[in-house]
Symmetry: C2
Subunit: 375 residues, 2 copies
C-alpha cells in the first residue's frame, strides 16, 4: 500500500471529519487512535491503536508520513520536537502549540503582541487571588476544556477547589460580555492565511451549544478587526492549519481574546455545509502546504447546533425521525455511543432567513438529542 501523505494523531470526531475531506482531495491518511473503535478509526483503514504520550508509538505512526497533524492539542511537546528532529513536519509545530496548551504562556505572548486580552495574572495562593481582585475566573493553565478546569470565583472561599487541585492557575477578570464570537483562519507553512466569516458562539454549561455564521448584527469594523487579529496571531505564532480564536464581544463593544485552538474547531463545523471550503478541507490543505480554498459562505445564514448525549439513546433510530422532519438539514453523527453531555454529532441548517434557519437547526437537534422539538 502506498505511504500516507499525512498522519493524524487522535481518533476523535475532528479526525473523522478530516477524513471526509481527505477522501475528496485524494489524501491518504494514517491515524493514531486511542482505541480500536473510536470515531475516526471507524473510517480510516490505515490506523494504529496506541497511546499518543508514548514516543515509540508516535514514531510508528508517522514512520513514512512526511507531515503530522492533530485531532487535539495534548501531544507532549518534547515528543513533537523529537519527531521534527527526525524529519517529520509537525503542523502546527510545538513552538505554536505551546500557546494552545498553556493559557499563561498564551496570555504573555498575546499581550506582547498587543492583542486585547482580559486582565490576568498567574496566582499561586489565596493572597495572590485577593490581590488580583473579585470577581475572577480561575483557570488551570493546562488541560482545561469545555468548562472543565474553570471556576468563577467571587471570594477566596470560592477558590478552595481550584487551589486544592494543586495545578498552576491563571486568574482572569470576569468579562462583562455581550456575546462570544470566534474568528477562524487557515494558515499554511508558505504563509498563506485565509479567514472565515466571524461567527457567534453560544455556550451552555461551558460547552459550545450553537454557532451562527456569520455573527448577526456584528459591526463590520469589529468583524474586520476580529479577522485581522486572528490572521495576525496565526502569523506571529507561526500556526499551521486551522487557528480558532475565541473572542468576547464586551458590553462596551470591544474584542478580547478568550481562548486559542490550533485545529479544526467546533465553531467551524458549520463550514462543512455552509462554506465553499470546509475548515476540515482547509486544515488539510494548510498542513500539506497546498493552496487554500475559498472561505466564502454558501448561504446568507448557517446555524450549527451540537448534539450532546441526552434522552435519546438510539441515535440511529432517531436519525430517521429527524431526516423525515427536516429534509434539508444536514446531520453529522460521530459514531459514538451516547453519554450524558458527550458531543456525539451536530446538525447544520442554512438559508436566507435567520429565524427559519435557527428554528430548523434547533428543532432537528432537539429531536435528535431528546426526541422532542420543544415547540
Amino acid at each position: 500500500m502506498p505511504s500516507p501523505q499525512l498522519a493524524i494523531v487522535g481518533g476523535g470526531q475532528l479526525a473523522r471529519m478530516m477524513q471526509q475531506a481527505a477522501i475528496g482531495l485524494g489524501v491518504r491518511i494514517r491515524l493514531l487512535a486511542e482505541a480500536p473503535d473510536v470515531s475516526a478509526a471507524q473510517v480510516v483503514p490505515d490506523h494504529v491503536v496506541g497511546d499518543y504520550t508514548d514516543l515509540e508509538t508516535l514514531r510508528t505512526v508517522v514512520a513514512d508520513a512526511p507531515v503530522v497533524t492533530f485531532d487535539h492539542e495534548h501531544v507532549p511537546p518534547e515528543h513533537l520536537q523529537a519527531l521534527q528532529a527526525e524529519g517529520h513536519a509537525c503542523r502546527p509545530g510545538p513552538h505554536a502549540l505551546l500557546y494552545a496548551q498553556d493559557k499563561a504562556e498564551m496570555r504573555t505572548r498575546l499581550e506582547a503582541l498587543g492583542a486585547p486580552c482580559p486582565r490576568n495574572a498567574t496566582v499561586s495562593s489565596a493572597d495572590d487571588l485577593v490581590a488580583f481582585g473579585f470577581p475572577a475566573v480561575l483557570k488551570t493553565t493546562r488541560g482545561g476544556y469545555d468548562g472543565k478546569g474553570v471556576w468563577v470565583v467571587r471570594s477566596a472561599a470560592d477558590a478552595q477547589e481550584a487551589f486544592a487541585s494543586g495545578r498552576p492557575l491563571l486568574a482572569e477578570e470576569l468579562v462583562d460580555f455581550r456575546r462570544e464570537l470566534a474568528a477562524l483562519v487557515a494558515r499554511s507553512p508558505s504563509g498563506e492565511v485565509l479567514a472565515y466569516p466571524v461567527v457567534e458562539s453560544r455556550q451552555a454549561d461551558g460547552v459550545c451549544a450553537e454557532v451562527i455564521a456569520p455573527a448577526p448584527d456584528l459591526d463590520p469594523e469589529l468583524a474586520a478587526e476580529a479577522r485581522a487579529l486572528a490572521e495576525r496571531i496565526a502569523t506571529e505564532l507561526d500556526v499551521t492549519g486551522i487557528l480558532a480564536v475565541e473572542l468576547f464581544e464586551t458590553a462596551d463593544g470591544r474584542l478580547l481574546v478568550n481562548e486559542l485552538a490550533m485545529r479544526p474547531h467546533n465553531t467551524g463545523h458549520w463550514s462543512i455545509d455552509g462554506a465553499v471550503t470546509s475548515q476540515f478541507e482547509n486544515h488539510l490543505r494548510a498542513v500539506l502546504d497546498l493552496p487554500l480554498g475559498a472561505t466564502d459562505p454558501r448561504a446568507p445564514w448557517s446555524v450549527m447546533v451540537n448534539i450532546l448525549g441526552g434522552a435519546v439513546e438510539d441515535l440511529e433510530a432517531q436519525r430517521a425521525v429527524v431526516l423525515g422532519a427536516e429534509p434539508d438539514v444536514k446531520i453529522h453523527l460521530y459514531g459514538k455511543s451516547v453519554k450524558a453531555g458527550r458531543k456525539v454529532g451536530h446538525v447544520t441548517a442554512y438559508g436566507p432567513d435567520l429565524d427559519d434557519v435557527l428554528a430548523r437547526a434547533r428543532r432537528s437537534a432537539a429531536l435528535l438529542t431528546d426526541g422532542v422539538t420543544h415547540d
Copy 2:
C-alpha cells in the same frame, strides 16, 4: 466492533463517495473490494477482498449486514436471489437490476410501460440486421459500458466485429438527437421517490465528459416529462436507491430513453457540491429506507467535468496547481493510478453565471488532466 448497517459490493469510486456520505450520516459500511487497494478499500476499514461472482464470498461480506447495495450492476442475479432468500435485503433487488443488466429486457419492459424508446430489435444475424435497417446502433445486450460493446453500423459489413463477438445483440435506430440528458431519482423501499433537476450530459468517445446541472434552456415541459418518466420507471421497476435514466433529446424535441443505471451515476456527481443532498447520501438514505433528502440545487449552475487519465501522471503534484488556480472549484480524486482514459476523478464548479462556471470547471479539469488550460 458493531455490525455494519450496510454492505456494499464493489470498491470503485462510487463506493468511495458513498463512504464520504456514510461518515456524515453515521452509517457503518462493510465493503467487498476487488483488490486490497482499490478506490473504496482505501477509505472503508471494514472490508473483505474477494470476488463478487463467488456466492460464499458474498455471504461472508453480508453476514451481519441487514442491507446490501452495489458499486456496479454485475453481481450475478442468482446470487442476489440466494442472499435475499437468506434474509438480506438487496437494494436494488435482482428483479430490478435485471433491467440495468440486460438491454433487451430493458427495452421490452420499458415499451410495455409506454416509455419512449428508440426503435429496436434483437438481431442474431446479418439478415436480421438488414431487415432492421441502416444506420443502426448495435449493442451487446449485457456487459457494455462507456462505449464498449457498442457499434454504429451503416451496412452489414460494419457489423462483422459485433456478430463475431458471439454475444446477443440489440439493434437500435441511430437517433438524431440534439443532446443527451439524464434524469436521476432516488427511491426508497417505502415508495418515496424524489427527482434531481434534469441535467445535460456531454460525451466524448462514448464516455461522459461533462455534466451541466440543470440542462441549459431545457423546455420546462420536457424537464417535467423527464422527471416524471424517471419517477415512473423507478416505481414500476421497483428500483431502490438511485436510478439514472439517460435520455436523448431528439432533434424534433422528444425524449427517448437511452440507458438505465441503478446506482449513483456519473451524471449525478455534481450533486455532491451542487445539491442540498448528494446522490450518494440519497442512495444510502434510500437503500436504508430512511427519509430522502432535498434534491434542490444550491447554485443556479453546477458543472462537473471528469478527470480521465491523460498527460499528467502525478495527480497529487498537479492537484496543488489546480487548487492554486481555482480556489472555489471542488476537486474529487478517487485514489486511482493514472491510465489513459481511466476515470480517476472529477471537478465541480458552481455559481450564478453558466459561462463562468463552465470555464472554471473545464480549466481545472484540463489542468489536472493534461497540465494545460487550453486557453
